[in-house]
């Protein structure tokens, strides 16, 4: 659709109205409030005109004629009639045809009650069937994957699922088979529909042909309740509705939020609610793995903290984690740590993220800005594995938009297909490539006339081409994240320094893995940081006034905390939904810290590896069970909905902090969630004007990017046929017209109270050890589905083994082949692992996916990674 702002008049059912040039008739009618029935048309996909449901009468050179409104564009002076007898007969006819072969098993069908075919038949269809012959029959549901079932009898061949898989997701694993009346959607033989996005096909199916196993027969639309919320499976912050029946989460559906997820969800997010019902849920407080009362558990923790503070000072208490928390929880814990305990050793990240000054202090770009930028440079991991919906948005920008894409990654990624330039560098030497791309000096040969050596394994020609693109687009958006857990975060910081130093107009999107890491950092859950994106030094004065007390010096980071614990210098370690044993890059350190004398308090929703070894486990509520707000990696704050009651005796995290504070003789001053958001709004400039009623206004349903700029967001009209199953959302334009409250009195994000954190480029000189000929450099990227406890059990993809992957050259060199066991030597010691062949990996590199479930002869990447090393080099020996 063209961006042309040209407008002209058309007439719809005799009423003159304005339309934009290049707009489809169906869109123009939607805008005018005239609904045209439709099946195959989806506002997020290219029109195909297959179902013929959207026929309207249109004036043309040969007078009025029936034409499909979903692919004809409006023309100046066009007359459109949507309710003539001719149109009604055509609609009636098409529906009668559709129902010929459609089984009338609505009582059994999951879509019954929210089915566009049912609804539109009632509204536009024939009252009675004239069909007396027998219908087409297929075997009832066939599995397309472990998650998706297909009932071909119900299919009306609109092709939405196929088009989604091909056009939007780029996973054409399903297609039409056969022809004519026997046309069917299917997969190829045993190649299952294992797309990360397969659940979307179920959501957009206009009949009950595609169903998802977690929802199958679980409920009926009329006993569902829903609340708008934000997905917390990753840091993308997709808007969705959470639906429940009988106080049990039962389905998540994506909301068509223009700036974020455009109605799509990944399967991890869509089926993530199954984690709420997981057997691993902790529902009662545990001490030494025995059930105890909340009172004695709180007493135990409070006593331990008190003792530690009294004997060895507040810094002997530390807190790790916070990404599971809401912004309000995080603020509460931040205040608790600083003002009640007096410790600054708090870290929301587990040594696997980005430095806070990168996340908070860089000039930010939103997803939308990235997708409209002329150039996007991806420096980091495979974003399909880390932020699946951002992948969809970028793929769309690269294929249908004007955005050019350069990726600087150690390995081919899912985006490589769509990238203008892919620069695959030696792991750990990313900053060298970035430097070559952004520095004002062009690459020069070492001596006049000599060939230029490849840069960190990247061909010079590729660098030159990419460099030219970057130099032409100084306002490029850089998407930065950790490409591998085996690389130190310093490498990325160094790369970013290079960009900031050389490109003042560049903007950044910082990729974070876990949901609300950004919000936790915003609330000061990082050593040396205070709420509102400021540092301890800059904000000390202000927060002393509000909180009464703020630690004098910067505390320890996660790595330092774990090191202190393993040396028994720490007395109490509170794990705020964190599982260092799984998620900290070096398992050796995490284990020794957890197994030390330090008292470990785990506040968690699930029983994870670290919680099992904790002294006290406190059950916490999780997504869907608590209200509040969350912040995605753009810095967009959006609301979370509480839909169901938490199981057992779980408490909200903020309530735990408040209770502990009281027990320790402090008072955080909070009695409710509202108290917290009120204080945040009042004293933290970042959240200024973010009053609770804003979340009720339809204008801000997509969330608000902080700092607030005062830019108003225009909500979309949400097509109910595009996303059946979501009962009316207030995104509807009608609702906006009605609302005349002054929600957009939002100010600029300037702060009068204190200065905010700014990223200063380091003039660092990282010394990456040269890779010797006998070693392999380890790459440990993360996958979407890993062994993390936040994952729901429903996974669309096969489980990968946690083993060493090498290319055939290196495999031959050690004389091994796929399936063999080898000895792996790294700085952490010797291990045994199976190996497998993967020729997509560069020579001299070994790959183990981080945090997969390792069985038997398998190895975890975190077994090999040492602490404080920039890169991890390993040696292999045949056994």
């Amino acid at each position: 659709m063209s961006d042309s702002s040209e407008k002209f008049n058309i007439s719809i059912d005799g009423i003159e109205c304005e339309a934009n040039a290049g707009e489809l008739i169906i869109t123009a009618c939607d805008n005018a409030g005239v609904h045209i029935p439709r099946f195959c048309y989806h506002p997020r996909m290219k029109p195909v005109g297959m179902c013929r449901m959207c026929l309207v009468e249109v004036s043309g050179p040969r007078g009025m004629s029936l034409a499909p409104s979903c692919y004809l564009q409006v023309a100046p002076g066009m007359e459109i009639v949507t309710d003539s007898e001719k149109v009604k007969k055509a609609q009636d006819g098409v529906l009668e045809f559709l129902l010929i072969n459609h089984p009338l098993d609505c009582p059994v069908c999951d879509k019954g009650g929210e089915c566009p075919l049912q609804d539109q038949t009632l509204a536009y269809g024939p009252g009675e069937s004239r069909f007396v012959e027998s219908k087409r029959h297929w075997a009832k549901p066939i599995p397309l994957s472990d998650l998706i079932l297909l009932d071909r009898e119900r299919c009306i061949q609109c092709g939405r699922c196929i088009r989604f898989a091909e056009e939007i997701a780029g996973d054409p694993m399903i297609d039409f088979m056969s022809r004519g009346e026997t046309i069917e959607v299917n997969i190829f033989e045993e190649n299952k529909f294992t797309s990360y996005y397969s659940g979307n096909t179920v959501q957009i199916c206009p009949v009950g042909a595609l169903t998802a196993t977690p929802y199958r027969f679980a409920s009926r639309p009329w006993d569902l309740e829903q609340v708008e919320s934000t997905c917390m499976s990753c840091a993308n912050g997709c808007r969705m509705v959470v639906q429940s029946s009988q106080d049990k989460l039962i389905r998540n559906l994506g909301i068509d939020s223009d700036p974020v997820n455009q109605s799509w969800l990944c399967d991890k997010g869509r089926f993530g609610f199954t984690a709420n019902q997981s057997d691993l849920r902790v529902t009662v407080p545990l001490a030494s793995n025995e059930e105890v009362s909340w009172k004695s558990a709180i007493d135990f923790v409070a006593d331990a903290i008190k003792q530690a503070v009294d004997s060895t000072g507040p810094e002997s208490v530390a807190i790790i984690g916070g990404s599971r928390l809401t912004n309000e929880d995080a603020y509460c814990w931040s205040k608790f740590a600083r003002s009640v305990i007096g410790t600054d050793s708090v870290d929301a990240q587990l040594g696997d993220g980005l430095a806070p000054e990168l996340v908070l202090g860089l000039p930010k770009a939103t997803i939308d800005q990235a997708c409209k930028a002329p150039l996007v440079v991806l420096v980091g991991p495979d974003i399909r594995e880390e932020a699946p919906i951002l992948f969809l948005r970028l793929k769309d920008a690269a294929t249908n938009g004007q955005t050019k894409l350069i990726e600087v990654t150690p390995n081919a990624t899912s985006l490589s297909k769509y990238a203008t330039q892919s620069l695959f560098h030696r792991p750990g030497e990313q900053h060298v490539v970035i430097s070559a791309l952004v520095s004002p000096q062009e690459l020069k040969p070492p001596t006049q006339g000599a060939p230029i050596q490849p840069v960190a394994g990247v061909d010079v020609d590729d660098i030159t081409l990419a460099r030219k693109l970057i130099q032409e687009n100084k306002d490029a958006v850089f998407i930065v994240g950790r490409p591998s857990m085996a690389d130190s975060e310093e490498i990325l910081t160094e790369s970013v320094s290079q960009v900031v130093a050389n490109m003042s107009e560049a903007k950044f999107l910082t990729l974070l893995r876990r949901a609300n890491t950004h919000g936790a950092l915003d609330s000061g859950l990082a050593p040396g940081c205070l709420p509102g994106r400021t540092t301890l030094d800059l904000g000390k004065e202000h927060f002393t006034k509000i909180w009464g007390k703020v630690p004098a010096t910067k505390g320890s980071s996660c790595t330092e905390i774990l090191q202190k614990a393993s040396r028994s210098e720490l007395k109490v370690l509170i794990l705020l939904g964190a599982d260092p044993i799984k998620d900290f890059p070096s398992k050796k350190l995490a284990l020794s810290a957890i197994n030390s004398d330090t008292k470990i308090v785990s506040i968690t929703a699930h029983m994870n590896d670290s919680a099992k070894l904790s002294d006290v486990v406190l059950p916490a509520t999780m997504f869907g069970e608590k209200a509040g707000t969350t912040t995605n990696f753009e810095g967009r704050v959006s609301s979370l909905g509480k839909k169901v009651t938490a199981p057992g005796q779980s408490w909200d995290d903020w309530a735990i902090a408040v209770t502990l504070a009281m027990r320790l003789g402090g008072d955080l001053g909070f009695n409710s969630l509202e108290d917290i958001s009120e204080e945040m709004e009042k004293y933290v400039p970042l959240y200024r004007n973010l009053k609770p009623h804003i979340w009720e206004s339809s204008a801000q349903k997509d969330g608000i990017v902080l700092p607030i700029t005062g830019e108003s967001v225009k909500p979309r009209w949400i097509d109910p046929i595009a996303t059946p199953g979501i009962s009316s959302l207030t995104h509807h334009r009608v609702a906006l017209r009605d609302s005349n409250d002054n929600t957009l009195e939002l100010d600029t994000g300037k702060t009068s109270e204190f200065q905010v954190l700014r990223f200063e480029p380091h003039q660092g000189d990282l010394k990456i050890p040269t890779l010797d000929a006998y070693s392999l450099r380890l790459m440990a990227p993360r996958r979407l589905y890993d062994a993390g406890t936040h994952d729901g059990p429903a996974s669309a993809t096969e489980e990968l083994p946690s083993i060493l992957n090498l290319n055939h050259y290196d495999l031959d060199r050690i004389g091994a082949s796929t399936g063999d066991r080898v000895k792996v030597v790294s700085s952490t010691g010797e291990h045994v692992s199976k190996v497998a062949l993967d020729d997509s990996i560069a020579k001299g590199t070994a790959l183990i996916w981080f945090n997969l479930k390792a069985n038997g002869d398998e190895i975890g990447a975190s077994d090999l990674i040492g602490v404080g090393e920039l890169v991890t080099d390993i040696r292999l020996e045949a056994i």
Binding site: E166, D171, P172, M173, I174, D175, F176, M177, S178, R179, N186, I187, F188, E189, N191
Partner: protein
């Protein structure tokens, strides 16, 4: 079996080179696979998908659109009787009934020995000699019941081996070599 032979693999890359975009070679490649194996095996579909850069589902989906591609095994001789209007007027249905009796199978089935598959065809453009019968797409026009019996006998005894190549082989010759004309400026897309 199943995967392309080395010789056919060479032919395949030759075919792909004839077109501006590799996907165009899908139908000729399916013909090639069928000429090799008699039907379109899953392995062949997988290999074609690799060759032209599609997913196997897309190749199967596209191939199954076309009547001539069989994704399940069919007989050595594909006997097609056209019953479309002209042939119907010329007694095609009566002949078809006889064919079913003679071969002992119903339309759409394959004989137990795997020799014959009987199909009801749409117009094969043999309307000047109704009813039009084809065996592996070779025409036998104006057949009556006894001539059909004779045809079956001839096929069984191998007397028609020259005339009727084995099933799946539509055409026995191919273009040699790739493109010869200079690809103009615009032509390389």
């Amino acid at each position: 079996m199943a995967r392309f032979t080395t010789e056919n693999l060479e032919k395949a890359s030759e075919i792909i080179s004839l077109y501006p975009e590799p996907r165009s070679a899908l139908i000729p490649l399916c013909h090639l696979a069928q000429a090799q194996d008699g039907w379109l095996t899953p392995e062949a579909i997988g290999q074609i998908a690799d060759l032209i850069g599609l997913s196997p589902a897309e190749v199967k989906g596209t191939a199954s659109f076309y009547d001539m591609f069989h994704t399940e095994q069919v007989g050595e001789y594909l006997v097609g009787v056209c019953t479309n209007i002209s042939c119907m007027l010329g007694g095609a249905y009566e002949l078809l009934e006889h064919c079913e009796d003679r071969l002992g199978i119903r339309c759409g089935q394959t004989t137990k020995d795997g020799k014959f598959t009987l199909e009801e065809m749409e117009c094969m453009a043999g309307c000047d000699g109704p009813p039009c019968v084809t065996v592996n797409y070779r025409y036998f026009l104006g057949l009556d019941n006894s001539k059909f019996d004779q045809l079956v006998d001839d096929l069984e005894s191998g007397r028609l081996d020259e005339e009727v190549p084995k099933h799946g082989t539509v055409f026995r010759n191919a273009r040699q070599g790739g493109l010869r004309a200079n690809k103009g400026e615009g032509q390389t897309k």
